[in-house]
Every structure is written in C-alpha cells, then in structure tokens.
Amino acid sequence: MAEPWEEENEGKVKKFMFINRKAPYGTIYALESLEVVLITAAFDQDVSLVFTDDGVFQIKKGQTTAGIGMKNFSPTYRALEGYDIEKLYVDKESLDARGLTAEDLIVDVEVMSRAQLADLMNEQDVVMSF
C-alpha cells in the first residue's frame, strides 16, 4: 500500500475558469467562490480566475473589516500563488467604470479586454459563475 506521501494524482487535468462578478461582503458569492477555487486547486486542475463587473472590488487593496464585524478574506487571494493558481484576469472595462486601476489591486493580475476574456472563456472545459 502506498504511504500517504506517495499518493499520486492520475486524474485528467481540466481547464476550470471561475468568473467572479459580485462585490465582497454584501453577498456571500465572493467568499464561496474563493472556497471552491481552493478546493479545486487541491485536485491539481488548471485553474483561472476572472474578475469582472463588481467582482473587481473583491481584490481592492486596503480592506479593513473590523468595523462591520466580518472576516476580511482579501489576504487569501495572495495565497493563491502558493496553490499554483497564477492565472488571474481582470476586465479592463469593469475597472474603468469603477474608477479603479491595476494599482488598486492586492494581487498581480493580467488586465484584459472583454474580447480577450471571451476567447479565454471559450477554451475552458468548465466555467463556474459566482
């Protein structure tokens, strides 16, 4: 019998895309998405994250939640790199509409046009929407 550290994952790698469209805290979507992303990463899948519409607010720098009595989960986006999740894409049009730039974000991302994002979306095996 294989020891736990010798376990091998022979499953097929699929392309998963998570599309984040909601602001944090007002609804539970952002946090739920993050949990599913972390679980998916544990299965060594090809994961990419898209932040569009109000989803761009999820990765705004400087979130301080003590005043609203909720957990600030924004630092967890910085842990994604350690989970080998390095494909983070942000919709430029959504940033512009909200007066934000890539400088406002707590993680390194690739800012893309909607046309580029549409192409990427089309290449996925599984698309999950939050």
Binding site: P4, W5, A42, F73, P75, G82, Y83
Partner: protein, 110 residues
C-alpha cells in the same frame, strides 16, 4: 467538546478544532497533543508556529501540498517534504498540526 487549558475551558467543534482562533495559547497545543498521545518536540513547534504565521498572513489554513512547499521555502528542503511532516504529525500535517495551532481544518481537507 470544550478542552481544559490552565483551568480555563475553550470551545471546540465536533472534530476538536478550536472554535475561536483568538483563544489560542501554546498550552492549547500541549493539551491537544497530550489527548492524542503525541509528543511535541521543537520540530513540532516549528511547524505549529509556521502555521500560525501563515494564517496571520493569508487568513486560511493551507492545504498539505501548499504547507509542504511553503515550509521548504522557509526552512529548507529537508523539512519541506511530506515524509518529514507526516513523521512529525502521523494524522496528517494539515489536519493534526492545524488543530494544535488553533486553526480551522484546511479547506478541501475531508
């Protein structure tokens, strides 16, 4: 079931994880380890303290694979491997060490 530490009672969930992260003091780990007949050496404490720092920075308990890699980065490859960590924490470095460190169960750990 709550655990007794220094005459104080701390709330835990049904799997023995500390209910409130901020309740943690080192004696929590000592008591939890004793309940599982698990000796705690400096090598164990190194991992427990590493997990506390990881949580402080990222607000999650890391998956085992991520923990292993992160420990390798910080403490060297002789410690950043599954064999070393499983020998220290035979119930699984994710589950057991996180529990002693007062962290929640790692996400994706069943």
């Amino acid at each position: 079931m709550p655990i007794e530490v220094n005459g104080k009672s701390f709330e835990t969930d049904e799997e023995g994880y500390l209910a409130n992260l901020n309740d943690w003091v080192p004696e929590v780990a000592t008591v939890m380890a004793k309940l599982e007949n698990q000796p705690l050496t400096d090598a164990h404490w190194e991992v427990i303290n590493f997990l506390r720092e990881y949580y402080e920075e990222y607000q999650i308990a890391p998956a085992v694979r991520v923990l292993t890699k992160a420990i390798g980065k910080k403490l060297g490859p002789d410690k950043g491997n599954s064999k070393y960590l499983y020998e220290l924490f035979p119930y699984g470095p994710g589950k057991q060490a996180c529990k002693y460190a007062g962290l929640p169960k790692p996400t994706g750990c069943v």
